[in-house]
Symmetry: C2
């Protein structure tokens, strides 16, 4: 019996991607939905509308609300939370590493990056930090860091950003289903997974 | 026994304010929470960050997603939905009327405006349409329309916008509680009302 597949699109600097990354695997497993972890970058997508930083920095009132909302969400779900400094952090290297990792390591690595950043306040553009997190994910740090800096991986990440644009993705986290349906936000994970289940033809 | 009070902040042109306005009274009643309907305007708040139209128009991918998300929300809750043309509509006159109405009429009027705009595709800047909706709310149209155009009501609506800014409001719908806690979005109504209930001291 085939299982429905969804793609989980996340950006390492994105605040709401953190609680989403911490809970989506459990939500998917309970529904028998298969998950593809898709690291991508919001920078090139924001640049298309002329934004050079996070919209939460561009609109201070919205930013202030987001920090409070994150505190509430993390408190409710028992997640540690501290506001990263600077915000947003540069998630480019982490996204390249996630792109380079084998599929059974990318989820562990990604959650570790989020916990390091939003739980511990670590800098995720730091190579030593990233090496530690790669090791934690079960891979060898040195060859993965080298591979993450290769032209092949850089091109694959660029392709992921293009694919995200093709789905109409404009923010993170986002979930896309096999029929192309797009869901945006940590608030929409359940709805996205239920949609994948309800529209799945295979059996 | 005193009841907790929340303020429901809505903008007539705001898409997500529509499903929120249609369901919040029922949610509040079930929890024994008292509701204050607070019409306001997003235009002056968006203008502070240099936006001259809806962010859904400024970021086309986000706009396309919002229309699809609205279709899903309205389908799930049995609400009629059509995309208004133009978008956003000019909700200034409707907001002044809502400000002029007695508190027992403002909820009925506001829901009627949303249904006319997003259910029927009517222009809510049209005086004849607005007169019909005022009558529907149980008030006499002519004196209310005259009062809505008075300096007193214009000033009261401006004061509401300033009060919204003071709460840190940056979008609609929003809910504020007696302790100043702010919740944004149709997705947060339940959480806002529960917060008001759980932090209510009176008894």
């Amino acid at each position: 019996m085939s299982r429905p597949i969804v793609q989980f699109w996340y950006e390492f600097a994105s605040t709401y991607s953190y609680p989403a990354a911490m809970r989506i695997e459990d939500l998917a497993e309970r529904r028998g939905v298969e998950l593809r972890w898709r690291p991508f970058l919001l920078g090139p997508i924001f640049a298309q509308v002329g934004w050079t930083t996070s919209p939460f920095n561009l609109m201070p009132a919205k930013g202030a609300y987001m920090w409070r909302d994150m505190e509430r969400i993390c408190a409710d779900s028992g997640l540690p939370f501290r506001r990263p400094d600077p915000f947003p952090q540069n998630g480019l290297k982490a996204a390249r590493i996630a792109t380079a990792l084998a599929s059974d390591q990318v989820a562990r690595f990604s959650r570790a990056v989020y916990l390091a950043q939003f739980g511990e306040g670590w800098r995720i553009d730091n190579e030593a930090v990233l090496a530690t997190l790669v090791t934690h994910s079960g891979a060898e740090a040195e060859p993965i860091l080298a591979r993450a800096a290769s032209d092949e991986i850089k091109a694959r990440l660029r392709d992921s950003v293009d694919e995200a644009k093709g789905f109409g993705i404009f923010g993170a986290p986002s979930v896309t289903c096999a029929d192309g349906e797009l869901f945006w936000g940590n608030d929409r994970l359940e709805q996205a997974l239920d949609h994948a289940l309800n529209t799945h033809a295979g059996g």
